[in-house]
Amino acid sequence: MLRKIKADLHIHSCLSPCGDINMTPSAIAKKAKSLGLNAIGICDHNSSENAAVLKKEGEKNDLAVFTGMEVTSREEAHILAIFDNEDSLYELQKQVYENLSGVNDEDLFGYQMVVNEQDEITELNNKLLIGATDLTIEKIVEIIHSLNGLAIASHVDRERFSLIGQLGFIPEGLNLDGLELSPAYMAEKGKYDYPMSSGLPLVTFSDAHFIDEIGKTFTVFLIENITVSEIKKALENKDGRSVIAYS
């Protein structure tokens, strides 16, 4: 049976250098649940290391969790990779780490905390997660699709680190599953104006870095099960699945 799923699939944890230290997996899951979201996605910058714990926290809270990542391409465009499970994510992680250089400076960029279900720090990731990989945007989309994930260009309305800002327009032939609009855009123009659609499906997620930003915007999907393949169908308007609202 088709049902309405409120999904905020772009949330950073305390692993992202710019993510607030209070963004632990358990805190994210509790907040999302309290807001009535049905599905969330964890998308830390170039890293996956809090995804499995958030998935478990989601199970405890009856909340679907997509394990994802926000990858930075060599053109410095951000792209969301969204997967059903950790195995695909870890395969992407391998390729991202092989193409990411540099060491984090915590004073400059912030702490990159890997935490467990008890909110204890198990490790401080020392890679330069704020940096760019040496993977082209085309290669990243190809890898995501080879692992059965969704490839969605992040906050395309923003100038910095967005596909449109960095590359001027959506590259021809780039096989994206959708474009994400930021909460700032939705607040200002989103209710009536989607000039950048270029025919691609649109979504909006919060890109939360702080607890209070979770669910600031979300997308409502009409789908049967909470899976990548169902969301893909909704984005493509297939088999009765669809995107029914932005909030």
């Binding site: 082209t136 100038e159 910095r160 960095q166 590359l167 001027g168 327009f169 021809e172």
Partner: protein
């Protein structure tokens, strides 16, 4: 004003595509293609580190004189093929942006048109 050819010879730039007889009206430097679309002027030489295929389309759209890729960066294969096909000059330098822009400016290539 100078042609691309003069500039290429003077600063030892490696021309990998396009016709270099074009006159250069001035220069623009940015790695945000959206910004180049908004602000570069016709016949500008554009200095960037971006190597993606979209740089050819931007140069075409803005009728730029050519593109200098800095820091020893090579264009992607798709970029180079398209640049050859569209006759968009791509020139390569080992120098970083600051150095090549400084040299061009000293040589008389300015960023803002004098009225």
């Amino acid at each position: 004003m100078s042609t691309l050819k003069n500039i290429a010879e003077r600063f030892n730039l490696n021309v990998v595509s396009g016709d270099t007889e074009r006159e250069v009206s001035g220069g623009y430097s940015s790695d945000l293609l959206s910004d180049v679309i908004a602000n570069a002027q016709k016949d500008n030489i554009w200095i960037t580190l971006q190597t993606h295929l979209n740089i050819v389309a931007v140069a075409n759209l803005k009728e730029l004189a050519g593109i200098i890729l800095v820091n020893g960066r090579q264009p992607e294969e798709t970029t180079l093929n398209k640049a050859k096909q569209e006759n968009i000059p791509i020139l390569l330098t080992e120098l970083p942006t600051f150095e090549i822009v400084g040299k061009l400016y000293e040589y008389g290539v300015k960023g803002i048109k004098k009225s």
